[in-house]
Subunit: 343 residues, 2 copies
């Protein structure tokens, strides 16, 4: 069995972030020429990363830029484009250096107020020229403030969905930073995943794009835990004025909320076994893709287990009711099919 982790991020040398610092400080007066990093610097920056993957039993990892570093709401938008392009190029270089381990997942140059049509060129470049197998999709390039971006169920996003279907690559829903004082980037990601699912579940997106492949990060935000609320909500549809006084016969026959979830995929980036079990029981093992984000937010050691939180494979292995076939699906087969990997 090949263990495929679909949710990893680039481990880069400090020079990459120094380039970002230059872009932001100069507001695009410098930096147009991009960034060239020597192979040795990337090999050095990947050392601990590769050690961790080996220790966790991961064979292949899909890596994208660190989302919280993507700065989609910076101005002018060209510095976002240059920054995203530099990240994607460095990832392509790392994938060439470690072709057995890494596959590239692109960031898109999404910016606050910029429509999806303007990011298709970079997606196409990454897939057709760099051999990337998917992309990140930030549902909130406004980063929690300012003019809200339409949620993912809105036809505003259709140009991107059409391109994803044309290229036959999945998008991993993953917010970037957060500029509101009320949330950190980390909690904002959970919020945005929940909004994404609810919006897609109520939309006609999968009627219009039945082949669209959307993966939701971090086990689907709050949705699997709060699923009773959304199952009930679906049945309240068409009941007006004072729903709690009515007989709750829905006026409109709709698919169940669970059926809506079956059009999505979910990664396993949940750092506790009971939560992972809840996800698997809620959406089924055929809809869950192994993901760890390692190394990253989950890399501290959990003193209760003695393992790092992001050793998610040990959690999957610990679920005794999960049969071998399902375990193999979750740990690699689902990803190999969805991302059309040759590993």
């Amino acid at each position: 069995m090949t263990v495929v982790d679909i949710h990893g991020h680039l481990s880069a040398p400090a020079e990459l972030y120094a380039y970002k610092s230059l872009l932001v400080a100069s507001r695009g007066a410098h930096g147009r020429e991009g960034l060239q990093l020597p192979d040795e610097a990337l090999v050095a920056a990947s050392g601990r990363h590769l050690d961790l993957l080996r220790a966790h039993g991961t064979d292949v990892q899909l890596i994208s830029p660190r989302p919280f570093q993507l700065m989609p709401s910076e101005q002018p938008s060209r510095i976002v484009r240059w920054w995203v392009r530099a990240n994607n190029d460095v990832i392509a270089q790392v994938c060439r250096l470690f072709p057995d381990v890494f596959r590239g997942v692109a960031a898109l140059p999404q910016c606050a107020g910029v429509g999806p049509a303007d990011v298709l060129d970079e997606l196409e470049r990454c897939v057709t020229e760099l051999g990337f197998v998917g992309c990140l999709l930030n549902p909130d390039p406004s980063e929690g403030v300012g003019e809200p971006t339409p949620p993912l169920g809105d036809p505003w996003w259709y140009p991107l969905y059409a391109k994803l279907v044309e290229l036959d690559v999945p998008a991993l829903v993953h917010a970037a930073g957060c500029r509101s004082v009320r949330e950190t980037y980390s909690s904002h990601m959970i919020t945005e995943e929940s909004i994404a699912i609810l919006s897609l579940a109520e939309s006609r997106v999968f009627d219009e794009f039945p082949e669209l492949k959307i993966v939701i990060s971090h086990g689907g935000g709050s949705i699997p835990y709060q699923i009773g609320r959304w199952r009930a909500q679906r049945l309240l549809e068409g009941v007006v004025v004072e729903p709690y006084q009515r007989s709750h016969t829905p006026l409109v026959e709709r698919e169940t909320f669970d059926a809506s979830l079956q059009k999505l995929w979910f990664d396993s980036v949940l750092y506790s076994q009971p939560s992972l079990e809840l996800l698997l029981r809620t959406v089924g093992p055929e809809r869950v893709l192994f993901g760890t984000e390692a190394p990253g937010s989950g890399s501290p050691i959990d003193v209760t287990t003695g393992r790092r939180f992001d050793d998610v494979k040990s959690l999957v292995d610990g679920i005794d009711w999960l049969g071998d076939a399902d375990r193999t699906r979750v740990l690699g087969e689902n990803a190999q099919k969805l991302y059309r990997l040759s590993v």
Copy 2:
């Protein structure tokens, strides 16, 4: 055993909402005199509500205004005050009509941009004059748009916390509406509960107010499901620059995230048994208070069980690993102690 549901909302006749319509339409030119509803109208509006409680085996329910109807971001702020006062008065009247069943939980006249000091008079009135046993606490009176309210860990909220301690009543964290196009009021509530927990857990609020009683609605938003993320996050503290490259020895000794959660309470308004089990295992039965929100968002019938989603007692009863003593705590004892009920 007395079954106490701490999370119920008022079932009111249409005349209550007609009063709100008058307030908003006239922007406070009319309506200052408040609202008088005849007892008969309230008895009639409570019929189905009482039937449902009986069917579910609930003995006592704490009722507050319907949060999504509270309109905290309407202007001028006096119409919010009049509206909140009318709701609280109707609740007091219902409690007098059904003294064995209902206890009052106040809404506060929180408005976008209005500080907590300005809502203390209504809290005091409800507790000392109307005999209410607690209040709602809306962490986001801005309803998802505009100038953000400081999160609940901010000292901005201290005047309210001081008054809650002085009166010795719990506050139930519960958002109201949402005016962002990205969330519904219902999903915004889940978001706000998560923000509330994370903010309180990182704050000094319980050092300053060790007697403060805060209950989080809807099983704690996303937090119990995403707990691995927050356990790990706590250990990353003080690790700077590139946390994923470091050895993860925290620079600051802090209590664990789980210990922070032990300063809060959580209601059981989760409409699926696996989620409820996750909550109970995560925070323990001594921190969970029975709540249903019935009748409300969970009142449709779940065809998989043949019961209404908000028949949460049947879910609690179905958890075979929950001992009798713990079941009694969850279904009533915890609430009786926390709210100092005489039932």
